[in-house]
């Protein structure tokens, strides 16, 4: 029999354990410190939800299934869309929500099913510069927590390029070509491409400059003002400038870079777009932006902004650079007992567990090798009750005495 292997790395299981036991709690903790509440969505989603709504997951990457009534379902390929749907349909939902959920994709490149853990936040109903900055600052804070040797948040705005695009007489195919050239900063080909279009020089120069609107935020803002052609573009720039001011107040000014050539998923995003990069990783480790139009597709206008990351990729990035989270030792106290001390030992363990300690109990006859507990090993026999920690051996009689000894150990650590 051949067992189905998800993933090809032999350490896949260890990585998932580390992910669930150390990285995810760390991310969750950071989300909570910004006042976000944990939410969840069903693993089974309506296929039509994902095909009719403009999203960011290509159809061919979704894993479809059919329910008994013949409805086509899709295994949750993304978390944002169902959360936005919930938020649009419920009046009582919280404005600030975070999620840690698995998503399922069909990777054509790797030719296999992928089960990845996404962690992220969504904030609904606030459409302010302060709110934009809050999310960007939280993203920066998160990367800072993970102690990468370097991290950068690249910020763009969907409106700036869209405004230019509206003025260009392009077929859908040409639009795609132009977007690809801008996304790859392919200056050599943009110029000849534009010169074949019936547009004035001012417009052509503005489009040509977009890929170069990159670098220090102040410089980018100045350069962008120079080429802006109308009030809408000017408004976008002044929005970015205000967001930058708030980011300075957050103390993350040195972390942010502007790049108005960042124009991915233009149909989805409506305002700021941002991506997080860290040293040693070739792909952005987190991405997000404002998507005020998404809930309109559920019949309700509602401002929305969010960001998310694939925790699996973040962990890979951490293994190359930064401080991989350490897994807390699962056991603080191990109690070994002989046949005559069973009830005393188990009652003692119960007392320690009530105090919140992590305890395992093992009959002496069946001891096996295990990772040493962080606080100590307890031996309970008819003759002696001893707590062993390193070279220290302390006798005790009652569960309370043991609890006190352990308190001292904890303070000592």
């Amino acid at each position: 029999m051949v067992f189905y292997q998800n993933g090809t790395e032999s350490n896949g299981h260890t990585a998932k354990l580390l992910l669930r036991n150390s990285l995810l709690p760390l991310l969750e903790q950071r989300f909570r410190t910004y006042g976000y509440i944990k939410t969840s969505t069903s693993a089974f989603q309506d296929y039509d939800l994902y095909t009719s709504v403009t999203g960011t997951v290509p159809k061919n990457e979704m894993i479809k299934t059919i329910d008994p009534s013949g409805e086509v379902l899709v295994l949750r390929p993304d978390v944002t869309i169902p959360i936005a749907q919930q938020a649009a349909f419920s009046d009582k939902s919280h404005r600030r929500q975070f999620y840690v959920q698995d998503v399922y994709r069909l990777s054509s490149e790797k030719n296999r099913h992928e089960e990845l853990t996404q962690a992220g936040v969504e904030c609904f109903g606030e459409n302010t510069h302060e709110n934009d900055a809050e999310l960007i600052a939280m993203a920066a804070h998160l990367l800072n927590d993970l102690q990468f040797s370097q991290h950068r948040i690249v910020i763009s705005h969907a409106g700036f390029f869209k405004e230019l695009l509206d003025q260009l007489p392009l077929s859908p195919e040409q639009t795609e070509q132009l977007q690809a050239m801008i996304q790859s900063k392919n200056m050599a080909e943009i110029k000849p491409f534009l010169s074949n279009l019936p547009i004035n020089r001012e417009l052509a120069e503005a489009v040509e400059t977009i890929p170069m609107l990159y670098g220090r935020p102040e410089e980018v803002i100045t350069k962008a003002s120079d080429i802006s052609l109308n009030d809408a573009m000017q408004q976008t720039i002044s929005n970015l400038n205000t967001v930058l001011d708030v980011l300075k107040a957050y103390g993350v000014r040195d972390t942010v870079v502007f790049d108005l050539g960042l124009i991915n998923d233009m149909d989805y995003y409506s305002g700021v777009i941002f991506q997080g990069y860290v040293a040693g990783s070739s792909k952005p480790v987190l991405m997000g932006g404002r998507y005020n139009h998404l809930t309109e597709q559920f019949g309700k206008r509602m401002a929305a902004i969010g960001f998310g990351c694939f925790a699996d990729y973040l962990l890979e990035a951490l293994e190359k650079d930064g401080q991989p989270p350490k897994m807390e030792r699962p056991v603080q106290v191990a109690i070994y007992y002989d046949d005559h001390s069973t009830s005393h030992a188990l009652a003692t363990a119960g007392k320690l567990r009530d105090d919140g300690l992590k305890v395992i109990t093992l009959p002496v006859a069946h001891t096996s090798e295990m990772e040493p507990p962080s606080l100590g090993t307890v031996s309970m026999t008819t003759d002696h009750n001893v707590l062993n920690h390193g070279n220290k051996h302390s006798e005790f009689r009652t569960a309370d005495e043991l609890a006190n000894l352990l308190q001292l150990e904890m303070r000592g650590d």
């Binding site: 370097q150 991290h151 950068r152 690249v154 996304q183 790859s184 900063k185 392919n186 200056m187 050599a188 080909e189 670098g215 870079v257 990069y277 860290v278 040293a279 040693g280 990783s281 070739s282 792909k283 952005p284």
Partner: protein
């Protein structure tokens, strides 16, 4: 300071690339094309050069195994990597073309068989025209395919057309123009911003001096 890694395509454009680097003042000790070594260092500019198969350069750069790469547009079109394509270095010029026996009908009934080192580029080209094709991926001596009857036509890069003529083939359709490009990993562009820009400017200077 750590090394900036530059992936250089072996083969067709290697010599011109090395000359360009030399002009820009970037010299690698013990570097010559015939050497079997694949990694070279310039300790003055802190650049590590790796020699890889041309078709692999986009992969190395996209995945961050190299920060920057010098490679032909043909391989970029074929691999469609998510990278920055910052400079057209203008050497190694040639173009993609459909070639075969003269008089071959590209609009024949049924499926056209196309042999190529560049199946993606071939697919894209014929898709645009609505011509259904079957691609056969070959790794060399592509000109042989129509002669032997393996394929109706080939898609390949053509410099002078000499090889085609010698095998009795002719250009049926011209496709995109090709030249050598400088490509950059998107993360390196951001996290090693200064190093990458210094390198690009050095290269530009060397390049301007040549042309």
């Amino acid at each position: 300071m750590s090394y900036l890694t530059l992936a250089l395509a072996k083969g067709r454009t290697a010599e011109a690339s090395i000359n360009l680097l030399a002009n820009a003042g970037i010299h690698f000790s013990h570097l010559n094309e015939d050497s079997r070594k694949l990694v070279f260092y310039d300790d003055d500019s802190m650049i590590r050069l790796i020699f890889v198969k041309a078709v692999d350069v986009p992969t190395y750069v996209e995945n961050g195994a190299a920060d920057v790469g010098i490679v032909g547009k043909d391989n970029i079109i074929e691999e469609q990597p998510d990278i920055y394509e910052l400079l057209d270095l203008e050497f190694g010029q040639c173009h993609f073309a459909v070639a075969g026996f003269s008089g071959t009908n590209l609009h024949k009934d049924g499926t056209l068989t196309v042999a190529s080192k560049y199946p993606t580029a071939a697919e894209k080209h014929f898709n645009r025209q609505g011509i259904p094709i079957e691609t056969i991926k070959l790794n060399g001596s592509v000109e042989l395919a129509p002669v032997i009857g393996l394929a109706d036509v080939i898609v390949d890069i053509v410099e002078t057309g000499g090889t085609l003529r010698e095998n009795g083939l002719t250009i049926l359709e011209e496709m995109e123009a090709i030249s050598t490009r400088l490509i950059v990993n998107k993360a390196s562009f951001t996290t090693k911003s200064e190093r990458v820009h210094t390198f690009i400017n050095t290269l530009k200077k060397g390049w301007n001096d040549v042309s």
